[in-house]
Amino acid sequence: MSSKNMTIHLKIWRQKCCSEKGRMENYTLTTVSPDMSFLEMLDLLNQELIVKGEEPVVFDHDCREGICGACSLMINGEPHGPEMLTTSCQLHMRKFKDGDTIVVEPFRAKAFPVIRDLACDRSAFDKIIASGGFISVNTGSGAEANATLVKQESAELAMDAAACIGCGACVAACSNASAMLFVAAKVSHLGLLPQGDPEASKRVYNMVKRMDELGFGNCSNEGECEAACPKGIKISNIARMNRKFLLSSLTSAPEEGGGKQEWN
């Protein structure tokens, strides 16, 4: 634990709303403690701005323990910053040096329009889930829990994929702003379990279709998504989805799914 304060220069993206042009603004903080989290450092900046009567920097955040997936900052050119397997809220200032300049931007993608400053609209992810990211079982119709045995290996693989927090770092990191890792994680999680098997074909077909409609880019198998994922989701999930999608498209004729509802 060190207590010596650091000076940090910030270049932060300020943008009024989606339709207005944004710009980089410079700020300097002189009392940054190395024990602060990155978001606490932004809190500090905001406190200073509020006292000066300026509008604070807007950013999404909630649980601040790396599980809710709300925080979504592009820090020095990498989603969630330079640390592996770490969300923005769990990144600590001791990972930076006194006098560093840090560039902070929102996640950028056509499907993630900026709402204000560093906050963007990721409801496209929810729309993809609504198109098929579930197992169709009504409340009460679940069978006795141990009636279906699940191979431990499958359960573990499914859990690996289910660990996705829906933060969007994969989209932010991808040079094509593709959502393949997010979709593949859900397709894998549900498809690997026997419970999710009956509608596996329909699920992958509908989810990919919805993903394409929402304006995400295409996968070019680079693996930047995997490298940026704070939960370590593997691109082998994308390969699994590619395989399932091919089989689904060529061997069955899923009906048009629902999932077209919009909300705001």
């Binding site: 270049k11 993206w13 944004g22 980089m24 592009m74 020095n76 050119g77 990498e78 592996m84 560039v103 931007e105 950028r108 993608a109 056509k110 499907a111 900026v114 990191a173 040079s175 094509n176 702003a177 593709s178 393949m180 990919v208 279709k209 993903m211 394409d212 304006g215 995400f216 880019g217 295409n218 996968c219 070019s220 198998n221 680079e222 693996g223 930047e224 998504c225 995997e226 490298a227 940026a228 691109i235 082998s236 994308i238 390969a239 699994r240 989805m241 590619n242 395989r243 399932k244 999608f245 091919l246 498209s249 060529l250 004729a253 899923p254 009906e255």
Partner: protein, 233 residues
């Protein structure tokens, strides 16, 4: 909607989906890779001597299936290139506002993977020039065993006597190695053929193929230049 229509629109949807396009790209890539390997093996005959090389060319050119093969190849190249460009345009549009600062993690993208559209376009230029120089280039003839045929050997030796042509060729092979270096393993990923046991080998094999083909192809103009460009034909 009748069932058969639903099914046909399904295939239509497949080819226009992001994954479908990638997989078609991968299929064309697979055939192009195979073609490149066959092309390389055929060219090895130049080391055996002019008559072997020219006979090989003649046999291919006089075969009844040549137009079909050439047509297929053209289709493969065109569909691969146009699909690739289409995907690249879509990808560009998926991020209308670029980052102020973006760095690669070093654990994912490589120079090769990040430049696929560019190496692809440059290789396309190379291909056009390559065809203009050889397929549609000057027609020298030579007679072996009473059969008149095109003297591709002479054409090649003369062309690579010019060091500029050699350098351009070598550069193009560098591009090829980058393109295949990411491309070969990418084919497997797009099909979904991955396995924790085999995928590391697939990746290594992809790199090996890329480097081997680039070096192998480079040996032809270098050999031609060193043998005849310097000494004179």
């Amino acid at each position: 909607m009748s069932k058969s229509f639903a099914k046909s629109s399904l295939y239509f949807n497949y080819f226009f989906s992001s994954i479908g396009k990638k997989q078609v790209l991968a299929v064309t890539a697979t055939f192009l890779c195979l073609f490149t390997i066959v092309h390389f093996i055929g060219n090895l005959l130049m080391f055996a001597g002019p008559q072997y090389f020219n006979w090989y060319g003649h046999t291919l050119a006089s075969g009844p299936l040549l137009p079909l093969a050439e047509g297929l190849l053209l289709l493969l190249f065109l569909s691969h290139a146009s699909l690739g460009l289409w995907l690249a345009c879509e990808n560009y549009r998926a991020r209308p506002e670029r980052y102020y600062k973006k760095v690669r993690s070093g654990r994912g993208a490589t120079f090769a993977s990040a430049t696929m559209p560019f190496t692809g376009i440059l290789l396309l230029f190379f291909l056009v020039l390559h065809l203009l120089h050889f397929r549609f280039g000057p027609v020298y003839t030579i007679v072996y065993d009473g059969v008149e045929m095109r003297d591709f050997y002479r054409l090649m030796i003369e062309f690579y006597a010019n060091p500029l042509n050699v350098v351009l060729y070598l550069l193009s092979m560098c591009l090829l190695s980058f393109h295949l270096g990411h491309g070969v393993q990418s084919i497997f990923q797009s099909y979904g053929w991955i396995h924790s046991k085999y995928t590391p080998w697939v990746k290594r094999m992809g790199l090996l193929i890329a480097v081997f083909l680039a070096i192998g192809f480079s040996s032809f103009p270098l050999w031609a230049y060193l043998k005849h460009g310097v000494v004179g034909y």
